[in-house]
Structure formats: structure tokens, C-alpha cells
């Protein structure tokens, strides 16, 4: 035994000597191996970091580890969209309570949270509408001075409407119809109208509200993507949820909570958003305004947006801002029309300063957010059959998912209560169904086929403004308009209709999908099988998928990147294999005399083979360790500085402006092992060549 080890030691010694005596060759091969190790380590660690950040973005914000949805849907569940602008048809979980009950008892399941993801729009009020509402308030408050000011504003705004209609005349198909509208609006500018108004302000307001305000193209349309869910259960089970402003939606109450990212990027004042974006790109991502095309475009657009600030100021505020701006920018002509664009002209040098000045002096004067916590918002959505539905809900608060603030995936979804979701989705609630049945029994109305109901709506005239269709209420089995609260639509300060609901309604209704959150450390595929069994046993036609599958294209995207990395590494390894093999073969040929001598003095074939393999392995270990050290060094530096996302897609992949990669022992081991494997494979042939050498060849001439 001792002999054996002594012999191995000797062989090892020869191997090392060979390595050092063929310095250049060893260095070449070694550097290839080291480079390979570095690449593998970097690739694997970066990919895993990206995958971890994506996984966290998805599972810890809203998906859970598993998702349950109907087996009968036409489309696969895709939490982040499937590439259509519209909603996938994924079927329904008909009874939330049954699905939750079946799943929650499964071992390893922490909770099941029912959901429905949908799109809706929020329309901001037009200026005229808003001013009219204020005027109405002033009338009720008997504040004549305020009313006077507001009437002045209303006249200006109506003049604006007239101007707008006159311009529109240039492109419309039916100028005559427009002329009638213009006449209508002009009437509201005449003295006769205001004399009448003085007599009966409410009638005048009604006239303005219903006849003139609708003529203006007003307001802005904001798309809202939301998760309708049992909000208290959601908050309890998604630990990254963090309230930033306001309060949680109370249990069993309708309400909306906005995601901070959405709030900052959609609801915030446009000019502030420009500043935020430029500030972030220029200072956090260190992109030069001068050099970068995209940022330059954004910066160039900024000064043109000054009116968005100016139009929100009253006379006093304008005067104040003008004075402050003149002091700040003395070289600019002292008019707001010149000062504001000048303030909004940013360059690499002044961006920080302008940003600070804007937030200190301008932001307090303007409406920084179009919707504030506590406001009631009108949400509109198309139901499944394409009808518009509007519901007023209170916006209770702003939240974020901790650590995922920058992630587009986690940041794109707002929260809504499940009942409001169901109504916007267009299904009847049990209570409503009962009520409808009662009405039907009483009136003896026959069920109207949904399709014919639609025809009766659309076939009648080419152009229907659906919102003004309350006459449809009498259509019996037709639930779509049942809930549109036309009164409160007009009256923004208006009450939200009964905002609470019962636990039974919540439990016995439908949802589209259900997030299953697992206990820490529970293995996913096992849990998935158990959940499926539980659903089958409960007789529910529901299926379970992993978060990767549920995330649609996003999850597949990561798989594609992984695939590309593996293919690239495989190609690199193949090339390395050839090069190393080539170099080792030549080296072996050179050493034939030496090998022959060894064989002649009694070395067995196995020993020669072993010697060659040892040589390769020890070299790949040394090179591998070196390469891994370099890779680890790079990763450690990157973990401090972060890798900047220089492209929008990377922003998405990195879950923010920078990726801070991390790596573990397994990455290091994998990288060294894979390179050692490549080295070993590439030396099999030369080693076999060497082992084949006959002792007699040693005696022959070296050539």
C-alpha cells in the first residue's frame, strides 16, 4: 500500500515537473481554462441573480409559489399578460370558499388567496366639469365672492370650448352638426344666459353640466391594471406588502389601493414625472443627457410641458412663482411663459439643482398627484361582453412591495377588492341574482338573450355613447348597467354606493385564479402534486401550475436566456476542447521518447494514463481556482457597485436600475468542475496516445 502511494506521489511529481517545464504551453492551456472558469462562474451567478430577482418579483408580490385556476379556460393563465391587449379567457373558479377550503388543508400550504386580474381605466375630470362642481359647492355654501371668481373661470373655459370646436370644424365629417354645438356653447357666453343664471343658478348649472361640458374633449384616460382580491388576506400573506400612505382597505369593504410605482408614474403630475425620470437616469444611472439619445429626447420634451404647471396656478400663485423664478433665473425675460420653459431646460450640469428647485418651489403650488389618498375614483371597465361599466371606489392608500420597488412586474399591479372586480368583470353576485329573479317574477319579463340585447343596443344607431344609456335598465336579465351609478358619476363629491359587503358574498362568489403561498422551505413540485390531489378529491375542475408557468411569457423569457447562456458556454467549451486537445496532442508527441523510457523502466500503461490525467487535472484545478478567484473578485466588486441597466429590457430583467449579483459556493464548484471536465475530456485522446507508446520507441530517434 505504501508502495502504491509512493508511486502515485512520484507520478504526481513527474506530472508537475512536466507542467512547469512546458511553461508556455501550460500557460496557454491554463489561461484558457481559467478564462473558462471565470466565464462559467460569471454567467451562472448573474443568471441566478436575475432569476432570483425575477422570482422574488413574481412570487412574493402576487403570484405565490403555485397558482390554481380552471381547467376549462381557453387560454393559459398568464399573470403578466399573454401578448394581447385584452384579457385572457382562463375560465373561473366558481366558488372561492370551496377552492380555498380544499387547498388550505394541504400540508405545506400557508394560505390560498383568491384573485382576479383585470384592466380598467380611470378618467380624470375635465377642467370645466371640475370648475362647475366647485361653482355648485360655492352656491350651496352661499359664498358669493368665490362664485364670482368661478363664474369668470367658467366663462374662460367655455370660450376655450368654442375655440376648440371651431378648430375641430377643419377636420370633421359633418360641420353642420358641429355648428349646432358651437351655437350651444356660444349661448353660454351670452349675457342672456348669465342673466337667466342669476335668476336660477341651479338650472343654469344643469344646463352647463349637461349641454356644454360634454362638448369639450376633456380629461385624461389612465389605464389601471389591478388584482381584485381579498385585500386583508392578500396583505397578510404577501409579506413584502408595505403601506406607504393612507390605510389598508378595511375588511369586507370596497376599495382601491395604488401601487407606488403606478402612483408615481401615472398619477403624478406630468412635469414632476419628467423631472423624476431625468433625475434618475442622469444621476442614479449616470447617463449623460448630452450623449444618450433617449434621455436627450426626454430632456428636449420637458420645456414644452410648462403649461401643465401654469394652468394649475391661480393669479396669486402665478405672481409668486414669477417673482421667485425671476430671482432664480435673472437672465431670463421675466414672464412666466419664458421663465417656466427655462426652468424646465435641463442639462448634465444643472439637473440636480433644477430638480431640487422644482420640488422646493413649484411642487407645493401644483396638484402633485391627480388622485390623493381618500379620494373617490371612478373606475370604468368593459365587462366580458364588452359593455362599459363604471363604479366609484375610494382610494385608501399607496403601497409597495418591499425591495421590489423598481420591478416593473411587481410594480404594475394595484389592489382592488374582489367584489368590485366581480362587478367590473360582469358577473352577477348572488344577491343581485336573487334580486333580479324577484323583479323578473314580479314583472313577468322574459329573459332577453344576451346577444339580442346587444343587437338592440347597437343596431339602432351607428354611434352610441354608451354611458348615456340608462333606458337599458328595463332589459330584465341584463345586468351590465344595473350598477352604473349615473348620479355619482356626475357628482364627484358624491357618495359611493354601499361600500360594504358580507362575508358570504365574498366567499360564495367567483375568482379567476388563486395564489397558493407555501410555508418556508417546502419543496414546490411535491406541494404542487398534493394541491392537485386535494382539488381533484374535492371534485373541483381546477388545475395547479408553478409560478414560472403562470407568469406566461415572462417566465419563458428567463428560460430562453438560460438556454442561450448554456448554448454559448457549450460552443465556447467545444472550441476550448479542440484547442486544448490540439495543444496537448502535440505536446504528447514531443514527449514520446520520455514516455518510452518510463515504459522501458517498468511503468505500466495505467501509470502513464494516470500521469497524464493527473497532469491535466492538477492544471485545471490550479487554473480553475485562479479563474474562479478572478470571477469571484469581479462579482464582489459588482455586488458593491451594481451592474447598471443600460437598456430598458435589462431594467426589467434586473428588477431595477442596477443588478447587485450574488454568488454561492455552488457556483464556484460548478464552474471549476465543468472546466475540469472539459480539460479531462480533451486530454483523453492524448493520454490514450501516450499510453499506447511502446517502450522500444524510446530508443528510436526523437524525430
Amino acid at each position: 500500500m505504501r508502495d502504491f502511494w509512493a508511486r502515485q506521489g512520484l507520478v504526481f511529481g513527474i506530472a508537475l515537473r512536466n507542467l512547469s517545464s512546458h511553461g508556455t504551453r501550460s500557460l496557454l492551456v491554463g489561461s484558457i481554462l481559467a478564462l473558462g472558469t471565470t466565464l462559467v462562474l460569471l454567467g451562472l451567478a448573474l443568471l441566478d441573480s436575475i432569476e432570483d430577482s425575477t422570482e422574488a418579483s413574481i412570487t412574493e408580490s402576487m403570484a405565490g409559489e403555485l397558482q390554481v385556476y380552471s381547467k376549462e379556460g381557453r387560454d393559459d393563465l398568464a399573470l403578466f399578460g399573454s401578448g394581447f391587449m385584452g384579457i385572457d379567457e382562463i375560465g373561473r373558479i366558481e366558488r372561492v370558499d370551496r377552492a380555498v377550503a380544499a387547498v388550505s388543508t394541504v400540508e405545506g400550504v400557508k394560505a390560498a388567496v383568491p384573485m382576479g386580474i383585470d384592466f380598467a381605466t380611470i378618467t380624470r375630470d375635465g377642467e370645466l366639469e371640475g370648475t362647475l362642481a366647485e361653482l355648485r359647492d360655492a352656491y350651496y355654501a352661499d359664498d358669493e365672492a368665490e362664485a364670482e371668481v368661478l363664474i369668470g373661470q367658467v366663462k374662460d373655459l367655455v370660450q376655450g370650448v368654442v375655440d376648440e370646436l371651431r378648430r375641430r370644424r377643419e377636420i370633421v365629417d359633418d360641420p353642420a352638426e358641429l355648428d349646432a354645438s358651437i351655437a350651444e356653447a356660444e349661448r353660454a357666453l351670452g349675457e342672456a344666459f348669465w342673466a337667466e343664471y342669476a335668476q336660477d343658478p341651479l338650472a343654469g348649472l344643469e344646463q352647463l353640466d349637461t349641454k356644454v361640458a360634454p362638448l369639450a374633449t376633456e380629461g385624461e384616460l389612465i389605464f389601471l391594471r389591478y388584482v381584485g382580491t381579498d385585500i386583508p388576506a392578500f396583505i397578510e400573506n404577501f409579506e413584502r406588502f408595505e403601506l406607504l400612505q393612507g390605510e389598508h382597505v378595511p375588511s369586507l369593504t370596497r376599495g382601491l389601493m395604488m401601487n407606488q410605482k403606478f402612483y408615481e408614474q401615472r398619477i403624478k403630475h406630468e412635469v414632476a414625472r419628467y423631472f423624476d425620470r431625468v433625475h434618475r437616469m442622469a444621476l442614479e444611472q449616470e447617463i449623460s443627457i448630452e450623449a444618450d439619445g433617449l434621455l436627450r429626447t426626454i430632456a428636449r420634451r420637458m420645456p414644452t410641458q410648462w403649461r401643465r404647471v401654469a394652468q394649475q396656478l391661480d393669479a396669486e400663485e402665478r405672481a409668486r412663482l414669477k417673482a421667485e423664478l425671476s430671482a432664480y433665473l435673472p437672465e431670463v425675460e421675466p414672464r412666466l411663459e419664458a421663465l417656466l420653459p427655462a426652468l424646465l431646460t435641463v442639462s448634465d450640469e444643472n439637473v440636480q439643482e433644477r430638480y431640487d428647485w422644482f420640488y422646493e418651489h413649484v411642487a407645493p403650488l401644483i396638484d402633485l398627484y391627480a388622485i390623493d389618498v381618500g379620494d373617490t375614483v371612478t373606475i370604468r371597465a368593459y365587462t366580458r361582453s364588452g359593455f362599459l361599466k363604471a363604479i366609484n371606489v375610494k382610494m385608501y392608500g399607496v403601497f409597495r412591495f418591499r425591495g421590489l420597488d423598481e420591478s416593473d412586474l411587481a410594480g404594475g399591479h394595484n389592489l382592488m377588492d374582489l367584489m368590485t372586480f366581480r362587478e367590473l368583470y360582469g358577473l352577477m353576485t348572488p344577491a343581485k341574482a336573487r334580486e333580479l329573479d324577484r323583479i323578473r317574477d314580479k314583472a313577468g319579463v322574459q329573459d332577453v338573450e344576451r346577444s339580442t340585447a346587444e343587437e338592440s343596443l347597437f343596431a339602432s344607431s351607428e354611434t352610441v355613447v354608451i354611458e348615456t344609456g340608462p333606458e337599458l335598465e328595463g332589459l330584465g336579465g341584463f345586468d351590465e348597467f344595473e350598477d352604473v351609478d349615473f348620479e355619482s358619476l356626475r357628482d364627484r363629491s358624491g357618495r359611493v354606493f354601499d361600500a360594504s359587503f358580507s362575508r358570504e358574498d365574498l366567499a360564495q362568489g367567483m375568482a379567476l385564479n388563486m395564489a397558493v403561498v407555501l410555508d418556508d422551505g417546502v419543496e414546490m413540485s411535491g406541494a404542487r402534486r398534493r394541491v392537485q390531489v386535494a382539488l381533484d378529491e374535492a371534485g373541483l375542475a381546477l388545475q395547479v401550475v408553478s409560478w414560472q408557468e403562470a407568469s406566461g411569457l415572462v417566465g419563458q423569457f428567463i428560460i430562453v436566456i438560460r438556454l442561450v447562456l448554456y448554448i454559448a458556454l457549450a460552443i465556447i467549451f467545444a472550441a476550448a476542447l479542440v484547442i486544448i486537445n490540439n495543444s496537448t496532442v502535440t505536446a504528447t508527441l514531443e514527449r514520446i521518447p520520455e514516455i518510452g523510457t518510463l515504459r522501458a523502466i517498468g511503468a505500466q500503461r495505467g501509470t502513464i494514463l494516470f500521469m497524464f490525467m493527473t497532469e491535466t487535472l492538477s492544471m485545471s484545478l490550479v487554473a480553475g481556482l485562479f479563474g474562479a478567484a478572478v470571477g469571484a473578485g469581479i462579482l464582489l466588486v459588482l455586488a458593491q457597485t451594481g451592474i447598471p441597466a443600460w437598456h430598458q429590457v435589462l431594467f426589467f430583467l434586473f428588477g431595477g436600475p442596477r443588478l447587485f449579483p450574488s454568488f454561492g459556493v455552488r457556483h464556484v464548484l460548478w464552474s471549476i468542475a465543468s472546466v475540469a471536465a472539459v480539460a479531462t475530456i480533451s486530454s483523453i485522446y492524448p493520454a490514450w496516445l501516450a499510453a499506447r507508446v511502446q517502450p522500444v520507441e524510446a530508443m528510436q530517434d526523437g524525430d
Binding site: 496557454l28 380629461g219 385624461e220 428560460i559 465556447i572 476550448a576 479542440v578 495543444s583 496532442v585
Partner: protein, 444 residues
């Protein structure tokens, strides 16, 4: 004579050269394939985009009745077309309406861009669109094709793409409701009849349907002489920027108000325009590249990955060539000594080795490039269906499309041959520096 020597040497060191040449050929082939893929994506992108949403140069514009009301409308369309046709008599010009809204079927609805066309002037479009067999959108239906694209000439008609039809659950002959959502929150609706259902064009076609131009006019109450965009198709799309500049000059001369050029798709311009103060009509000139700007990240990604991969391979191959030439120099030291002794100059020795590397490089990369080109062409003809939806989305096509450009073949050959020669530089230099006397004595 050098050439003969170089060739003889290469043949002599057959095994070493062979493996190296193989590696070189494979890597060249890989580069050619990657380049063909990248060109294929560009080609798909241009083709899809020019069918669906953009000309090579576009004369679009925005009409603002008040500062915050932006409509993608261009008035006096006939006059503008006359100007374009006068400036560019060779170009093909079509007018299209731009709209955006919701399409509602009895079962569901989708949100899409609605492109209003006059099918009588869209001959190339009609030729480029392939109608889909019923089986593409109705589960278990026959392979027959229904409908005719030419029927888009009738009022209130629409052409959908197969994925949309499947999703909406409609067939040729069914009718749909189109609702236009203007940015101001107004909603107008109209009925449209499906007259044709086309094969999808990558995933891009999910986002738009084609309708009779008057459908869009009606939805937005636009007059006869108003259009959305005048799309201009050139013989050579690479000339787009120049043509755009010429047009701009002519338009400004004719007294039109043309917006400053901004490289962005038209639908991203609404927000910023709402905030700017002007009213009335402004024209906007863009190239196809501007309109597909958000898609070019795919190209950037493919090119970046290709570049990184090829760079690493370049380093590897470089090391390989250097190693092999080094050995060659050592083996042939005696020969070099003899050559030098009989009067060959230092630089000739160096040239001999470099030539050897060049020969190796040219032969191997030539074979590799040819093989790569053939494989790419073969793949393009075969056009295998891409299995993953995500890859389909990335490549913007359901099947693999590759384009081989001779210039790229040349580039690949030149790059790797150049590399082989430069990698041979140091070994060759060492050979050139050898003293004839020491060299001739060298053994092994």
C-alpha cells in the same frame, strides 16, 4: 514559391492543422449563422412593420383642436399626396387611417390598433398578406380558406389575423362591434363585418386589425380629406433618412408646419403633445426605423450576445493558432536555419509563416463561411417552426427566418483570417529572429 512551401507545410502537419482548421471553420460558420439570424430578424421586422404599421418614410401628423386634445389626423391629405408624388415620382404612396379601440365579439373583446386602408391602392399589401385556413382559428375545422381580402373595398369591413379571430371566436362573415376610445374618454361605436382572416405576422399582428378606411373616419367623425398617415415605400429602404430630409424641405417650402424629427413611434408622442401649447395641424415625418424603435432591442440583444460569443471564440482561436504556429516554428527550426543559410532574408521567413497562417485561415474560414451560408439558406427554406412562444416573440416570427448577405460572408472570412494571421505574428517573428547557425544545429 512561398505559397507552395506554406501549403506543403500545412499538409505536412496534417493532424495539428486539421483540427485547428476544423475549429476555425466551425467558428466562422457560427459567426455566419449568427449574422444571418440577425439579418433575418431585421428582415422580418422590416417586412412585418412595413406591412402592418409603417412605410419606409411616413408623413403623419397630429391635429390639436386645443392644446390637450391630440388626434393622429392629417388634413388636406390629397394636396399633401400630390406634393409627395411630385417630389418622389418613383415611390409608392398609400394613405392609411389610424385608430385605436376595442373590438367586441359575442364572447369577448380585445384592444387593438385599427388601420383604415383603401384596399384598391394596397396591392403589395394584398399580395403580402396570406389568408389563413379555417383550421387556424376554428378548432377542428377544415383547411379551406374563406373570405377575400378584396372585399375590404366594401364599407364597414375588417380583416383580422388568425390569433385575434381565434380569441374573439369569430369567422369570416361574422360581425363585430368596434368602439373607439379617444384619449378624451369619448366612445363611439360601429358595426364591422369580418371579410378575411389572415395568417399571423409574428406577434406584432396581435395588436392591429385592418378595416375599411371609412370605419375609422366614422368612429372619429373625420372628414373625407383627412387621413392618418401617408406611407411612402422606396426601392431601397436604406435611403429613408435622405428621402425624409428632402421631403421635409419641400413641405416647409410649401408652408407646412413640420414637427422637429423625433425618433419614436407615433403612438408614444400623444402624451408629450398634450402638454405642448400649440393648436391646429402639424406634420410629422418619420422613417420605418423610428416606428419600430421599441422592437430594436431584440436586435441589440442578439447582436450583443453574438458579439460577446464571437469575441471569446476569437481569443480562443487566437491562442490555438499561436500555439500551433509556435510548435511549427520549433519543429522546423533546422529547416529555417537552412533556408536562411542559403540566403533567404529574415522578412521572407516571417512572410512564409504568416502566409501559412493566412492560407490556413482563408481555406478554413472559406469552407466555414460557405457551410454556414448553406446551412442558413437551408434553414431559411426549411423554416422550422419555433417551439417556444417566448422565442417566437423575441424573433418576431413563428418560424425561423435567416438572410445570408455576401458582405457578411466576406466579413466573417476576413475577421477570422485576419485573426489567424495576427496570431501567427509572434511565432513568425521568433522564426525570423533565429540565427542561421544556431537554427541549423537545432534538433527536434
Amino acid at each position: 514559391m512561398f505559397l507552395t512551401i506554406a501549403f506543403r507545410n500545412l499538409v505536412q502537419a496534417r493532424r495539428r492543422t486539421g483540427i485547428l482548421a476544423l475549429a476555425l471553420a466551425l467558428v466562422t460558420m457560427l459567426l455566419v449563422l449568427l449574422l444571418a439570424l440577425s439579418s433575418g430578424i431585421t428582415d422580418t421586422m422590416i417586412r412585418s412593420a412595413t406591412i402592418l404599421s409603417t412605410g419606409h418614410v411616413n408623413l403623419g401628423g397630429f391635429f390639436k383642436a386645443k392644446p390637450s386634445a391630440v388626434a393622429p389626423a392629417v388634413k388636406d391629405a390629397s394636396q399633401l399626396r400630390a406634393l409627395i408624388e411630385d417630389t418622389l415620382p418613383q415611390a409608392r404612396v398609400v394613405s392609411r387611417m389610424r385608430g385605436f379601440g376595442r373590438i367586441i365579439s359575442p364572447t369577448t373583446s380585445i384592444q387593438v390598433g385599427m388601420t383604415g386602408i383603401d384596399v384598391s391602392e394596397e396591392q403589395p399589401f394584398v399580395e403580402a398578406i396570406r389568408l389563413a385556413p379555417r383550421s387556424n382559428y376554428v378548432e377542428g375545422a377544415a383547411e379551406e380558406i374563406e373570405g377575400r381580402l378584396e372585399d375590404l373595398a366594401k364599407p364597414n369591413t375588417a380583416m383580422l389575423f388568425a390569433a385575434q379571430a381565434k380569441r374573439l371566436g369569430v369567422q369570416v362573415g361574422d360581425s363585430l362591434t368596434a368602439i373607439a376610445e379617444t384619449l378624451q374618454g369619448r366612445r363611439n361605436s360601429t358595426e364591422i363585418e369580418v371579410v378575411a382572416i389572415a395568417h399571423d405576422i409574428g406577434f406584432l399582428s396581435n395588436f392591429s386589425i385592418f378595416v375599411h378606411e371609412d370605419v375609422v373616419r366614422e368612429l372619429y367623425h373625420l372628414g373625407e380629406d383627412v387621413t392618418g398617415v401617408v406611407q411612402i415605400y422606396l426601392d431601397d429602404y436604406e435611403r429613408s433618412p435622405q428621402v425624409m430630409a428632402v421631403l421635409r424641405e419641400r413641405l416647409v417650402e410649401a408652408g407646412h408646419d413640420v414637427m422637429e424629427h423625433e425618433a419614436a413611434p407615433f403612438f408614444t408622442k400623444f402624451g408629450p403633445l398634450q402638454g405642448s401649447g400649440w393648436t391646429g395641424q402639424k406634420l410629422d415625418l418619420t422613417t420605418w426605423r423610428d416606428e419600430v424603435l421599441i422592437l430594436t432591442w431584440v436586435l441589440t440583444a442578439v447582436d450583443t450576445v453574438s458579439f460577446a460569443l464571437v469575441s471569446i471564440l476569437l481569443v480562443l482561436i487566437g491562442i490555438g493558432v499561436m500555439n500551433s504556429m509556435g510548435i511549427s516554428v520549433r519543429e522546423r527550426t533546422a529547416e529555417i536555419g537552412t533556408l536562411r543559410a542559403i540566403g533567404m532574408g529574415r522578412w521572407s521567413v516571417m512572410a512564409m509563416f504568416m502566409l501559412e497562417a493566412l492560407l490556413l485561415g482563408l481555406l478554413a474560414t472559406g469552407v466555414g463561411a460557405a457551410a454556414g451560408g448553406l446551412v442558413a439558406l437551408g434553414l431559411d427554406i426549411w423554416a422550422p417552426t419555433i417551439p417556444s412562444k417566448a422565442v417566437q416573440a423575441i424573433l418576431m416570427s413563428e418560424s425561423l427566418h435567416m438572410v445570408v448577405r455576401p458582405l457578411q460572408l466576406g466579413l466573417a472570412v476576413a475577421t477570422f483570417s485576419g485573426l489567424a494571421v495576427s496570431a501567427a505574428f509572434f511565432p513568425a517573428l521568433r522564426a525570423a529572429r533565429l540565427q542561421p547557425v544556431t537554427a541549423i544545429h537545432h534538433v527536434g
